[in-house]
Amino acid sequence: MNRKILVVDDEPGMRKSLAMMLRREQYQVTETGSVAEAVGRIKGEGYDLVIADLMMEPLNGLDLLALIRRYRTTCPVIIMTAFGTPEARSEAAALGAVDFLEKPLAAPHLLHRVRELVA
């Protein structure tokens, strides 16, 4: 049973390398650079985990969290960011993010968290 993970980041390098890392751990990974597309996929397909960047255009990671909440979907979301202010961290937590990770991501820590969340 392969767990489905959605990676949302408008930075292709980051998105692709992260997706590759997760696929090597036998997860079924979908990539997207757009929050709107991500929301559509989450509604339509359902994912075991969403890993989303915070700073994206035009909609960002927090918007994604808000939209997931609006559609009454339950899905754990990890927010990652290149520069996390404490305000953003607490806002993300308030919107239901399960974790808040700073880039660059330490692979062992990330994979450990992922395993915990999708188990």
Binding site: M14, K16, M20, R24, M55, A82, F83, T85, P86, P104
Partner: protein, 649 residues
Amino acid sequence: MLRRLRAWYHNASLRVKFALQVVLSTVLVVSLMLPAVLYIQRRAILSAVEESGFRIADIFARSSVQAVLADDYLVMQHVVNGLASEKKVRYAMLLKEDGEVLVHTRAIERGRRYTDPISSVAATTRGPRVQQLVDGEGIRVYDFTVPVYVLDEKRASARVGLSIEHELREIARTRNSILGFGLAVLALGLVWATYQARWLMRPVQALVAGTEEIARGNLDHRIPVRARDEMGQLAQAFNHMTKSIQALIETSREISSVLDLDVVLKSITEHALKLVGADMAFIAPLERDGGDARVRVVIGGRKSSYDVVVKPGVGMGGWVLANGEPLITDNYVADPRIVHDPIYDKTLSDEGVVSALALPITLKGETIGLLWVANRTAKAFSAEDGDALGRMAHQAAIAMENARLYQDLRQSHNELVNAQAELVWKTRMAAMGEIAAAVAHEVRNPLGALSNCIQLLRGNPAITGEDAELLTIMQNESKRLNEIISDFLAFGRPRAPRFTPVDLHELIDETWALLQRDDRCPATIAFARRFDRALTPVAADRDQMRQVFWNLFLNAVRAMRDEGTLGVETRHTDGGVEILVRDTGPGIPEAVLPRVFEPFVTTKSGGTGLGLAIVRRIIEEHGGRITVRASNGAGTCFVLSLVVDTGTV
């Protein structure tokens, strides 16, 4: 000529003028006295001659009456011959009305008729008459004529000539004696006047010399006071004035060159003491909020300082503050003007004060302080002392005000400079924060991707040997890149500390453990810790404190290069805790030492210079302090002081 003489006199020295006056006075006296004396003497001598002349002529006239009546020539001749035997008688004769000689001591003259004016007057006179003439032998003669009456009818004139040569010589001799005496007096007077002038002028010259000395700037010069006369008083007044000026100048020179209020006050008090020769003095400037004056400097006291506040109306100083006038007392304890206060009285009796002088220091009519001098003996202060101190107090007021203004100015200047520096700093930090955030975001995304890729590649068992080593280098370098970004973020975008109770010992051990796993920390570095077990947890931001220890430890380890000891000591202090972080490295150069906590100051190549700046800011935000002690070759020691605020733990 007269003008030149006047000009000469005008410019002549006082000595010359005095001598000249004395000489002129003597000449005047002598020249007035001489003719009077001569006249009186001449009159006395000549009137004696006249008296005897008239007596002889009268006797001659009476003796001749019978003979003239009888026209007896022989009797007449006999009488005349009798007269001629008198020593002084130059001649004797009887003249008829028409000038015919009836008889003459020289018989040959008989029958001649005299028509010369003197003889005519003698022949025709109706009463006694004296005339002066010079006879044929050049002898000066008084000619006495007495008419000879027979029964109211004039019949002849009896005429006798008496030599006055002897008398005139007597008169001349007297005149010469008097003149000689006058000249002698004049000469003596001149000598005396010169001497006296010199004697009189000596103090004046001393005064002149003194003035010149003072004009040259030698204010230490004093004029010797020899007598109690006007000159002595003048010299005394002059000395007093010089002393006063000296004190004034010294005070003003000393205090106006200084802008430090404390130094100014001390200087004023010292000069006040010296100026009036008092045993003790104090100065009490008015407090800024007005009303009371606080004693700031005491000179000559048995205690070096007094914490005394002078309130208007109470005590001697209080009287002066209330009245705005000086107060002199020769008996402090018994003076009815002073409202006594037990504390003041105790202080002054401890000091043994008897007489005192207090005066207000005023500026533009406003009292700004109080100056007080006192003696432990009954030696009272004079009104002159008060005046002298008053003048000094005026100078003092200006200096005090200047110092006060300067103090205010310096304070506001410092505030302004600090505010400006802070503003510049804040602006710079805000700009840096913006840049750091932007850069961090832009750099960390590619860095994150890079890091992911490296980690993926490291999972590939086919990459071995040098390639694997290259991957490790890449991983370490990207980690370092990330740390640089993190430093910038931590410094440019600091966050407020979140206080929780933190066990510092646990945190120190944890940080050291973390550092040991870092490949920048060689295994040869030893860790020596000495913990004060009595230490309780402190209120701190755990993450930020970890950063502090991390930065300090990493700096220490890097400074020591391959070997050395990182020493960490904790200890309890009064109301806080101290953490000492030592290394045994080469130390920080002294030139850099005062600036190590400034951002971008680094002794390493490749450091951002932000590590210690971040440490300082975190410590300061925790209400603590960090200092550094170092000396080249003996390592560096950072001392962190944190306040233990039990309320927040």
